[in-house]
């Protein structure tokens, strides 16, 4: 064995029968010139991986089409088997109502107001829920104090909060935001807590031995270790935020997609009920998707793990 091999053991690793996969080494060396590791060329891989995804999309579209066809037939024939379809608007009526609404500025306001409420409530729930959850996961005393509140308050549905929320908060708007916040905050707290609990102790020790303590342990170890779990909590929290918001909007307010839906029922504009429902579904799924996308760059390191 040469001295060079002692100081620079890659050479020796090769002698000793290559301990790391060959492709790792070649890509790393290819990138060495620029001092950056270049990603492998992606084009061929993406074409191959596009095909199954396209097929999945086609199947999803077909399944939706099947549902709409059934819906059309059921409403056309006034199907009455357990469920009564005679008062349900058909897909074509709903489509027409949708077209009418989508150009109506009032409808835009309904959507915008709801989106704003969810965004505000969700931001507050994240700002409160993540730190509280992390602290609960790491500090025994804090957890013992906070856990009874979480356990008792969490199962209370948003609708049950409405009377008290109206009495507690100065404006209708703030009580709706409060109810929405409550819906989102519990899944965020609990997931952040479970994530923090799973912090590997050896990593905490390692960072302590590097001179870290208190806040730096939280920032460099606990938070990133909990991040996958936090991401899951945020996605669930976003979903719950939407149906808590709807509960709040149905009772009070003069704008919002929940109010729109309930108002359509009171005024017997049945196609609008379905338009409202579908918009809620669409917004809920879009915003959850947005949460996933926003978290993805922070979790990129996990893709590297085999």
């Amino acid at each position: 064995m040469t001295l060079a091999a002692i100081i620079r053991p890659e050479a020796a690793d090769t002698e000793a029968g290559s301990e790391e996969p060959a492709d790792t080494r070649t890509t790393a060396q290819a990138g060495a010139g620029s001092g950056q590791v270049m990603p492998a060329p992606k084009s061929r891989q993406s074409i191959a991986s596009m095909l199954p995804r396209l097929r999945d999309a086609a199947i999803a579209g077909l399944a939706l089409l099947l549902g709409v066809v059934f819906w059309q037939i059921a409403t056309e024939r006034d199907l009455q088997y357990i469920v009564n379809f005679s008062n349900v608007p058909g897909p074509l009526e709903v489509y027409e109502a949708f077209l009418a609404n989508i150009t109506d500025p009032v409808f835009h306001t309904h959507l915008l107001v709801s989106v704003k409420r969810v965004a505000l409530s969700f931001a507050l729930a994240t700002a409160v829920g993540v730190p509280v959850g992390l602290l609960m996961g790491r500090l025994r005393l804090f957890r013992a104090m906070a856990m009874p509140y979480v356990e008792i308050l969490r199962p209370i549905p948003a609708v049950a909060w409405i009377p008290l929320a109206i009495l507690m908060w100065p404006t209708e708007e703030s009580s709706i935001v409060y109810i929405t916040f409550l819906g989102a905050v519990f899944p965020i707290v609990l997931n952040a807590m479970h994530g923090a609990e799973q912090t590997p102790e050896v990593l905490v020790r390692a960072v302590r031995s590097l001179g870290g303590s208190g806040l730096s342990i939280f920032w460099h170890v606990v938070l990133p270790a909990a991040l996958p779990s936090i991401a899951a909590g945020l996605a669930i929290g976003m979903g719950v935020a939407w149906f808590s918001l709807l509960a709040g909007e149905i009772i009070s307010g003069q704008y919002g997609i929940g109010y729109f839906t309930w108002d359509a029922y009171s005024m017997v504009r049945t196609p609008d009920i379905v338009v409202g429902m579908l918009m809620i579904g669409l917004l809920g799924s879009l915003s959850t998707n947005l949460v996933h996308r926003a978290m993805r760059p922070l979790l990129r390191w996990r893709e590297k793990a085999r």
Binding site: M1, I7, R8, G31, V202, V207, P224, A225
Partner: protein, 282 residues
């Protein structure tokens, strides 16, 4: 890279070699007891040791003999139940960057790149990002992993990860390097290379090293002094000086000095195991 360029690297980066005055470890009457009452388990019992600056010491013993507990007491991760640990006369009250630690495995932060892992110590010490990255670059160079600076730990093999672990501990210029079976999870060939690599680095740094292992050959190959520990209760039962010159070479494993030291270690361990057996039968 060869030893000469390693020298240059060191010179460029000030004086990584500690003064011969730094890195003295005094273990004074240290016991480590886990739990209390009837469930209490004495991991380390009333141990006193003095390790002079710059010495390479191996703690050798079977698993569960308390050698890791003793190491963790020096590191400050475990508080001694009695006695105290002093490094350069200062009592250890908790972990600190003056005592670098290398763990058995999986101790790199998986969400940080290799460079970020190595730069973390300097960053925590308040260095600017540029300065910390430069230090990380130096030490990655020393362990031969510059090409992997932008990779994540999961992309590296076990041996490479441990080299990063060593670079990370050294980036704080510690006076003491504590190593808890760092090569235990590696295959035999990789381990041999890692041992030589470690000795080459140690020669440049002159840090005091306390190295925990259960491998007799590894202990003798690396150490100036092998401290053999007994299990239950953990105690240093033999203090054996290794008569081999440096630099150590793998061929030395067949030399009379090596063989004699190994015989001594094995005799102590065997005596200890027999006693443990008798105790179990009684």
């Amino acid at each position: 890279m060869n030893v000469a360029t390693t020298h240059t690297l060191f010179r460029q980066h000030g004086t990584p070699r500690r003064s011969t005055e730094e890195g003295r470890i005094d273990i004074e009457d240290v016991s480590v007891v886990f739990g209390s009452g009837p469930a209490a388990h004495t991991a380390v019992e009333r141990t006193s040791l003095a390790i002079p600056p710059g010495e390479f010491v191996c703690l050798l013993g079977p698993s569960g003999c308390g050698k890791s507990s003793l190491l963790n007491a020096i590191a400050g991760h475990v508080r001694p139940t009695t006695g105290a640990v002093r490094v350069d006369g200062v009592a250890v009250t908790g972990p600190g960057s003056d005592r670098g630690m290398v763990f058995q495995q999986y101790s790199l932060l998986p969400w940080k790149t290799i460079r970020e892992n190595v730069a973390l110590g300097p960053r925590l010490a308040g260095k600017s990002r540029g300065e910390a990255d430069a230090t990380a670059g130096t030490f990655l160079n020393i362990v031969g992993l510059s090409l992997y600076a932008n990779r994540y730990p999961a992309e590296l093999s076990g041996g490479m990860q441990q080299r990063v672990g060593i670079a990370r501990a050294l980036a704080n210029y510690p006076s003491v390097l504590l190593m808890d079976e760092p090569f235990g999870a590696l295959d035999a060939q990789t381990r041999l290379v890692m041992q030589e690599n470690l000795l080459a680095i140690w020669k440049e740094f002159g840090t005091t090293v306390v190295f925990v292992t259960h491998d007799v050959d590894e202990a003798i190959f690396l150490a100036d002094r092998v401290l053999v520990m007994s299990a239950a209760p953990g105690r240093v039962i033999s203090d054996i000086r290794v008569p081999l010159p440096r630099p150590r070479r793998p061929e030395m494993a067949t030399e009379p000095g090596f063989v004699e030291t190994k015989r001594q270690c094995l005799a102590v361990i065997r005596e200890q195991s027999l006693r443990a057996f008798e105790n179990q039968e009684r």
